[in-house]
Each structure stands twice: as structure tokens, then as C-alpha cells.
Symmetry: D2
Subunit: 350 residues, 4 copies
């Protein structure tokens, strides 16, 4: 261990996002994994749970002891289920360790909204609405000094990044937005369930949680936080036969200006996105139609805009955005947040 390395604790180590953190840290020159906890597999080496780490990461799983962890690590990445996560985040923060929380527990602005959608009493309500949303493209300054960061949801990342700037600039209408998202199966986690068995999910696509997925309110809440405007989104997620990646195809109405054509609307929206992300190394506004394969296994985002309608009557804006749900949609974003929190180049290790 080098003296100047950021020491990272992984809280809840058995899932895919935890593995992705461990994997990314192996190639990170200025941070290293020093702690990994697990209730169920205490004492085992992390590489027994994740055989791809064999010979590469020999850390042993330890129980969750915040005081102890605070001595061993500078930052904790908390990969626990919602509810349970908030408790651990509170205990870690109390022990003086900075925390990046992968759960949804601190993403929403209000306790009632959280409790309506997650169906549990929030264990640390004082901090709800008072934790920065870990999207450095919009909140880098607050992240830099934060004690707790709410790491964004995967679907919300794919929707907020293109929509928030367009809403903020008044380029699309706020009350008619449809988000049709397609996610790889890793988004459903690593607990054995019938629906995510290979022979159920393979060679098949299906919609789920239509108009009732928890990421819908997260999208609305964050677009509001970034743009100052209230939006209404209809969100349909789909389970897609691939390991990783989210493609969101979004439909909105343009705010038209006099003399607008399909081409002028497209140009204006593309320009706004390009301007917004000009200095953001991970966000790419591209001319081609992005595929998830263009971004998986990276922290990068590709997005583009199309406009439908007769040339002189642009009717509908179609926005396509591709991310890796496990990287920019989870663990990559967490590493990026950590980099911002500890003052190193935000691309380090990504």
C-alpha cells in the first residue's frame, strides 16, 4: 500500500456492483480496496465470491463494524439494499468516514416521496433532501466536499443526462415525455430468481413495472433539481437479453420557434447538449445512433437527437442515450464521484 492511496471500503460485497468497484479499483492508480464486508460470507476471500478476482485481489471479507472501517478506509462504497443501506450510511458517516451510497435511500428530495415509492420508514430522515446527487456533470462542487453522496440510479442516469439540459433550456415541453428504456439483466442483481435465470431471460425481451418503476420519480425529481422545472415522465423499463447496458429511447415535444424545420430543431437540441457537455470527458453527443455495445465496460455516455415530422412541421423529438448500467449507471459513477471527492483527475481508473 502506498501512502497516498485513497483507501476504499466495500460495504456489501457479493453483488455485481461490488465486483465492478473491485475490478475498477485494480486498475486505479490512486485508490485501493482495503476493506470488503459481507454478512453472509465473512472470512472468505472476496475472490471466492467473485472468481474473476482470483490471484488479483486477496482481501478477506469482514463483518460490518463502522468504527473499525473508519480506521481502515477513507471512503465507503455502500452496495446494500435500500432501507438497510440508509442505516449503514448513517453509522459510517457517524464514525467519520465519507460514504458513497449505491442505494436509492438518499436520492429523492423528500421523505414522503421516498416512503411512498419504497414502502419503508426511512431510517435517517434528517438527511433526506440534504445529500448531493452523485452526478459530477451537474454537482461536482458539492460532491467535492460531501460527507455522503447519493450515487445515481442506472435508468435515471440515462434519462437525466440528455433530458435535464433540454428541459432547463426550454427546448422541449415538460408534460409529454416518454422514456422507453432497455436494460441488460445485471440491473436485476445477483440473487437467484426465476425471472433472471438464463433460460428465462435469454432470447427474450419484455417490459416490466410499466408506469410504476421507482426510477420514474427519481428522474422527475432530478430533472426538477437541475432545471428548476416540473416534468411529467412516463417510464417503461424492459429486460433485454444482454449482461450490461441501458439504451433509453425518449420521446418529447419540441418547443417550437417561428420557421422551425425538422433540421433546425435537431440542430438546436444537439447544440444545447454539446454546449452542456463540452468539458465533460465522459459525455459524448454523437451523430450516429448509439448502441449499448459502444459504451459497455466504460464510464462513457453516448447520446443523440432525431426529429420526426414533415420537414416543415417538426412533431416529435426522439432522443437516444446509451450507458453501461454497471459502470456510469453504478460503480463507474461511484469511482468518478470518489475521484471528485478526493481531488484526483475524475477520469482516473475509468
Amino acid at each position: 500500500m502506498t501512502n497516498n492511496m485513497i483507501r476504499v471500503a466495500l460495504i456489501g460485497s457479493t453483488g455485481y456492483t461490488a465486483l465492478e468497484v473491485a475490478r475498477l479499483l485494480l486498475a486505479h492508480g490512486k485508490a485501493e480496496l482495503t476493506v470488503a464486508t459481507s454478512r453472509s460470507d465473512e472470512g472468505k476471500p472476496l475472490s471466492e465470491i467473485h472468481p474473476s478476482l482470483a490471484g488479483r485481489c486477496d482481501i478477506a471479507l469482514q463483518p460490518f463494524d463502522p468504527e473499525q472501517i473508519a480506521k481502515q478506509a477513507d471512503v465507503a462504497m455502500c452496495c446494500l439494499p435500500h432501507g438497510a443501506s440508509a442505516e449503514s450510511v448513517r453509522d459510517l458517516a457517524s464514525a467519520g468516514i465519507r460514504v458513497i451510497d449505491f442505494s436509492a435511500d438518499f436520492r429523492l428530495s423528500s421523505v414522503p416521496l421516498y416512503e411512498q415509492w419504497y414502502g419503508v420508514t426511512h431510517p435517517w430522515p434528517e438527511r433526506v433532501g440534504n445529500v448531493v446527487y452523485g452526478m459530477p456533470e451537474f454537482f461536482a462542487q458539492e460532491i467535492a466536499t460531501a460527507d455522503v453522496v447519493a450515487n445515481p440510479g442506472c435508468y435515471p442516469t440515462s434519462a437525466i443526462m440528455p433530458l435535464a439540459p433540454l428541459v432547463r433550456a426550454g427546448l422541449i415541453q415538460t408534460d409529454d415525455i416518454i422514456i422507453d428504456s432497455k436494460s441488460g439483466v445485471s440491473g436485476a442483481g445477483r440473487s437467484p430468481k426465476l425471472g433472471t435465470l438464463y433460460c428465462e431471460a435469454n432470447e427474450s425481451i419484455s417490459a416490466y413495472s410499466i408506469a410504476s418503476h421507482r426510477h420514474g420519480p427519481e428522474m422527475q425529481d432530478l430533472i426538477h433539481r437541475i432545471s428548476g422545472k416540473t416534468v411529467d415522465v412516463l417510464f417503461t423499463p424492459h429486460l433485454t437479453p444482454m449482461d450490461r447496458g441501458i439504451l433509453s429511447t425518449m420521446y418529447a415535444r419540441p418547443e417550437l420557434q417561428k420557421g422551425d424545420t425538422v433540421e433546425s430543431v435537431k440542430a438546436r437540441l444537439m447544440a444545447e447538449l454539446r454546449e452542456t457537455y463540452r468539458d465533460q470527458p465522459f459525455i459524448h453527443v454523437v451523430d450516429h445512433l448509439p448502441a449499448t455495445k459502444h459504451v459497455v465496460m466504460t464510464n462513457h455516455v453516448q447520446m443523440t437527437v432525431r426529429v420526426a415530422g414533415p420537414s416543415d412541421a417538426p412533431g416529435r423529438v426522439i432522443i437516444v442515450c446509451a450507458i453501461d448500467n454497471l459502470s456510469k449507471g453504478a460503480s463507474g459513477a461511484a469511482i468518478q464521484n470518489m475521484n471528485v471527492m478526493f481531488g484526483v483527475d475524475q477520469m482516473m481508473g475509468l
Copy 2:
């Protein structure tokens, strides 16, 4: 060969739809493949082009000779590219053989619409608008006596089947319909191209031909033909990492009645679809959210309806429909059409 068997000629035998026809005929008790043509592979056994037929179908590929084929077969299934197909259909029909055309050449209602979208001069314009669309659920009577049947497109089948009855019954608005479709890769055909290589299409999803795919006007044309109403659809197809299957997720606005709730709207639309398809053996209006895996390798269709919005202010109807693009979206529909044309049980062999 049994005396009473329907004798089928396959015109253009090297692609996936042709293989699917051959495969289905092997299990069809009242029809058999007697001719298979190919320009490029004349003389070879069909099973050399499609090794899954080895030992099961030993027919040899022959050149395209309409007079000859008329002696050998009762019906021709024409699996050629658009333009080329219309010419062959004309020649086969002139030779007195009934034809099921897999191309788009006779699907649209007017020559200008066809030439605008397909960019070629139509070789047999007299018959455009004068050929039945091969969807027995709506046009069985005309199919029964037709000399030429225009076999439906794959995406249009998935969209027309749920949308046309709802438009016809005045249950959804006609000017705000979005069709977000996800298709397996077989829809792109069997000619080697970069985009359909395994390593390009696997583990990736992407949109293509946004608001510019030729199946958009086909959907509009047929919904109009069935419902008598002009509709405007925005159609986005996606290439999905699976062999077969189409899932179309459709978004529309309900025509509301006084006192409507989310539940009442859903019930009304489901009832309309159930009533429409009550006697149709292949169409299933289901409560669950269909996955393509529920229908691939069959001629069956599963569809359902959801409604979004606050309970007392239903805002948007979401319709999901799953089909197998190669079966009900192509070769299964052709067999079904053939069954209707020759007066056998329409489920025979399907």
C-alpha cells in the same frame, strides 16, 4: 406424395423466411414442399443451404420457370426482395398459380406511396391496392378466394393487431401514437453485413431508421383500411440481441369517457381486444406482460394493455404486443394464409 396435399413452391429459398416455410411444411399434414427455386444455388439440395433440413427435405433447387412451377405446385410462396418480387408474382399469377408474396410490393394501397418509400418503379402497378393483405383475422373471406396475397410485414403485424381494433372502436386518439419496437436479428435477413455479425449485434441494443422505416406507412395504411380512420404513428425499430421475436411497446392517448379511471380505461380496452379476437385461435389477450419468449417458434400473438396516470386521470395507454417475426410476422402467417386459401383448418401445421 399424397393426392390431396397442397403442393407448395418456394420462390427464393436461401433466406430465413424460406427455411421457416420449409420447416413448417415438414409438420403440416395437408401441404408439402414440391418446388424450391434459387438463382444462385441451382441444382444443390435445399438441405445444403439449410443444414437443419439434412435427411428431412431432399428437394433440389431449380431455376425460376413460372410455367413449369404451375405444373408442380398449387401455391407459390415468394420470398424475394421488393421490386424483384412483384415481377415474379406477376409471372406466377399469369401462369395460373396462386401466390403468397412475402415482400412489401402489394401491401400498400397506392403506387405513389409505394414508390415514395421503396424508391423503385412498381413493375405491376395495376394490382397495387387490389391485393388482399394476408391477415386472416381481418380479411379471411378475401384471402379464401385470392389469387395473390400480400403477406404482412413483421413490425406491422405487431402494431396493427392491437391498434387497429382500438382505433376502429374509437378508444384511442388517432394522432398521438408511438410504436417502440424491438426485433430479433433475423429480421435483418441472411445476407452477410457488418451490422448483423455476431460480434456487432450480440450484447447490444440500438435504434435504427427512426421515423423513417418503411413499416411506418404500412402500419398507417392498414390501420386505416381496417378502421376507416387516418392515424399518425411514430415508429422506432430497435435491433435486439436475440434470433427471433418482436416486442412492440405502444403509447397512445385514450378517448376518455366521463368518470373514467385508470382501471375503467384498461378494462374497456382489454374488453374490446378480447371481443375482437374471441374466435381467433392465434391471438391471446393476456393479463401478464408478454415476453417474446412466450411466442417465438409459434404463430401465436400475446398482447396486453396498461394505463398510466393518477387513478382518476388516466393519461396514457401502454399496449404491449409480442410476436415471432419469422412466424406470425412472416412464414407462419403465410402458412395460415395458405390454409385459409385452400380451405383447411387455419391452425394446421402451426
Copy 3:
């Protein structure tokens, strides 16, 4: 229900082989599903467990009551785990219903061999060694009159079909046979387990149970039963990222004759296989190298032979055989057995 239909009871209805039986029976002109049992889902429609049956098979799951089932069905297909299966088979047979058992409980020749490999006390030892192995290509006569049929294992089918005739004819050495098999994931069943989650099995291949899989002794036992010779096989199964299909690549030493060349050995082995299976409608000895895609969703088998070595010193025979593990490797074979048992064309419904 037609009077002359074979009435089929499905015992244990929630797995993939049960679904495959139900699916195949829907297209079988002379048999129909009349009973489906399940301990865990009693009362539910079968189509709730298998949504692909929605609107196609509305039978309700009932408890396991042999006396009752004997009144409702002519044959029972028993899809239970080993041990449990033998008990049910005994009770069904005692109630006077003919049984096709999908488990391994009656496949092996002796109780000690069974108990050594399956680690349980056999519930009905009297019948072990006294039940026909359900491979009509070798045992059709006994199957025709059997009260109980032991449906073959999937891997054994892919190995026995090419190896047994070659061993019987003295064309390959018996003591140096390696069977390297690759199976689709459906072979592992439908119970949620970490190893068969989509994100574990997808995009990955791995060996398991090397030299210790229970299908090894089954192969040896049956090759002995068919050929009269004792063989020693080394069997390595692999989990392959696909739903269905088994490809077995087998390595053996030829029994050489004077003047043999690579070509003469290949010709002799191919001729023996062609002769053996000349009248068998499902078995195809092909020139090309079979792929699992050529046989999945069918009851057909493709096999071929290659010989390695300098042309004048043939050293090793390589045999490749492809089957569908769920069809010829399980449910298709069961339907074929049923056809033989009830005197209908063995290809009926397949």
C-alpha cells in the same frame, strides 16, 4: 377430446421438460394432455407457470393421486427428481398406468451402481435392471409393450447413439474413449441457482463435474447393453451459453485393418453408422460438421466422423453428435417412446 386420443398425464409440471411435453402435445394429432400435477402450484392453470401456453392449454394443476390419474390418463410422463421419481413411478404403475420416467431411477442396470452414483437408497429396487431404456432406435420392441420406460439422459443420448454401433461393430477401441460435451443451460433445470443466472452463464463457457458426472456410468452401462462390450469413457460436460442443444465431440482409437488410411477408416465408420440408422427417421449421418442449431427444437440427431493422423497412419477417430437436450434428450424422446408404446407412427407430433 377425441375418443381415440392417447391421454397423457404430466407428473411434476413446473420444469422445462414438462413444458416441452405440453408444447409438443399441442401439435400431436393423436395424444392430448389430460392431467398435470404439481405439489407447489396446485389449482393454478398450467399456463400461469408457463406463460407461453396462455390461451393454448388451460388445464389446471392437480395433486398427485395415482388412482385418480389412472382414470384420467393412459400414460404418465414423470418429470420428477431422482429418488422421488421412483416412488411415483411405482405408485403409478401399481395403479395400472403406463409410465415414462424422465429421471435416472431406472436407467442403470444395477442397484449398487445406482446407489453409488445417486447417493440414495432406491425406493423400488426390484425393477432396477428390469426396465427398458427408452431409445426406440435400439429397444423398440420392448418399449412397445413396456409398463415402465426409462427415458434416456440427455448427454448419454448424444454419446450412445454414435458410439454404441461403432463399439458393437468392433470399429473402435473400447478402453480409450473421451467424450467432451457442451450443453445449453436448460439442462440445469428451472430452479433458481446462482450458476444458472443469466449474468453468470451468459457469455461464458466452463467445464463441470469432470470425470464425476452421473451420465458417465449411464453411457458405459448402455453401450455395454447395446454392444455386449465393456467400455471405459472419460466424460467432461461443459455449460454453454445457449438455451438448448448438446454437442458431443468424442475421441476414440480406431481398430485398424491392414492398409488402412485416414480415408478408409472414415468411410468404414460412416458406413456402419449409416447402415445402423438407415430406417431411423430421426437419426442423420451427415457429411458436414453438425451445429446444435441444426437440431434444436426438433427430435432429430446429426452425427459425423472425422479421422486424424497422417493419411497412412490413422491415429484417432473424432465423432461429433448434435441433439436438442430438451427434445431428443428428454421430452421429444418421451413422445417418441409414447408413440411406440401406443402403436402410432413414431414421428407423430415430432
Copy 4:
């Protein structure tokens, strides 16, 4: 560009190995891509050919001009087809630039062996047998000073790494080795061909080039070069439905010692492999059975040993080795070689 960066030229930029080199260099702290050539796409940005590089690598494709490239780069990675590659390698070396050749042109020890298997006249026969094989685990010293490095084949890497040390130590017999390998589809390259279309390769596994693949002699040649012993291998490659990864399952006979048991043989072989690779950061001798998923997207190798036979009569050794065909089997190895050639940590960027 930093002064001390290794400047890399990519010769032939349109394939998967070229993309992998570009991708790896983006994360390499001490090397950067300065040149990319292409005959067919001159002038285009590399990211147009490989959209995953959009916004990340803006280099434009240039024609192949060795003198010019020698000014722009310190090392050339030559990703051309065999035959064509040897010519370019010669011209680049003559221009004074060090070369890592991805083709097979300089891997084999003799011109006749090369010309027998590759069917072309070698353009630079003087150097055949006189170029180091780019496997730093065995040839690091020669690589460090080499002007030309022959980057190893993918299948040979997976076979040589476990077999060569065991042969060298006299632990397995040399005349009875079977290598049954399963490769992802990227190994077949990026040129559109029927066999590598998604719908042909997906959901299917098949053997090809049985006992006639060019990597067989490469394995024999290199095992001889490393161990000093002549071996005879029988090699069967399989096309497996996954993007990346090779799993080789190998069968050999142990050289037995008095009193040997299955356990003692396994322990001796594992110990030999562990000792051989003790200081090699990428090679992991593991207890579990490796899956390709454990190593894809990394330069790491996992291998293990099993022994079959009655406990007191060990009969056959089974060795399993997993690599990523595009990384350790191609581009990762090339980066590792470059690191050794330029004196930086061999794990840099990997």
C-alpha cells in the same frame, strides 16, 4: 502528448484486435496511439470505424508509409492478414521501427512448415525461425531487445501455457494429447461472412477444422521450443456463442511414479504449474474450474488440473485453461510485449 510516452502505430485498424489495442492504449499511462493506418478507410477518423471510440480517440486513418510511420511512432502493432503482414513487417523493420506482428507469419520455426500450413510463399524467409515468440512468461529477455516480436495465436496461448511446463517437467506423456478448445466468435474476425452472422452463430456450438487447424502445428512447435520435447497434439476448435474468450479442455496421460494416486498426480502437476508461474502476474493456477467469464476483458489466464481414474490408478489428466482471445490471446499480449520491449511494468495498462 507527453515526452516520455511510447508512441504506437496501428497497422490495419478495422478489425477487433485493432480496436482492442486502441481501447487498451486509452487507459495506458505510458503509451499512446499516434498512428492508425487503413487501406480501405483512409482519411476517416478511427472512431467512425469503431463507434465506441467516439469522443475518446480522434486520430485519422492514414495510408501505410513505413518511412513516415517511423518518424511518428516507436513501435508498430501489425494487425494484417498472414502473408500481407510479413511484407509490412519487413518494410517497417527496415525503416527502423520495432514491430509486434499479430499474424502467424513469424511464429513457426521453419519456412517449409509455414508454407505447408499457410499455402503461400513467405515474403521474408530469412527471418523465419529467428523472431522471438511474444510470450513474456517464457521469452521476456529476448522480447526486451527484439526488433520484431511474433505475437502468439489465441488458441496456442491457451494450450501452451499449461502444457509446455508439464511437458518440460516430464509430467505428462508427449504422444497422447487432445486439445478441445471453445472460442468466442470474435476469433473469426470482423469481415462479414455467413458463418459469423448473428443468426448463424447465436444459440449454437459447432466444431470446425478438426485436426486441420493451423494453430495445431503452432502449439507443437512452441511446446517443443519451450520444453525441448517433440509432442503430438490433436486439436479441435469449436465456435461458441459468445463474443470473447477461449476455454481449452485438454486431455493427457500422466507419467506415473510408483504409488501414484489420483490425488498425488494432481498435486504434482498443480505444484509444477504454480512454481512455473509463481512470479507471473497474469497467470493464475486456481482450484476452481475456470470459466471464460472469469478472464474476459482482462489479460489474465486461469488454469487448473483434474485427474481421472480409480483413486489408485490415475488414468488421464484433464487440464482446463481460460483466456480472453482478444486480450491475452491477441491485443493484451501485444501490450504486455510492448511493455517488456520498452522497459515499463509489464502490467501497465492491463
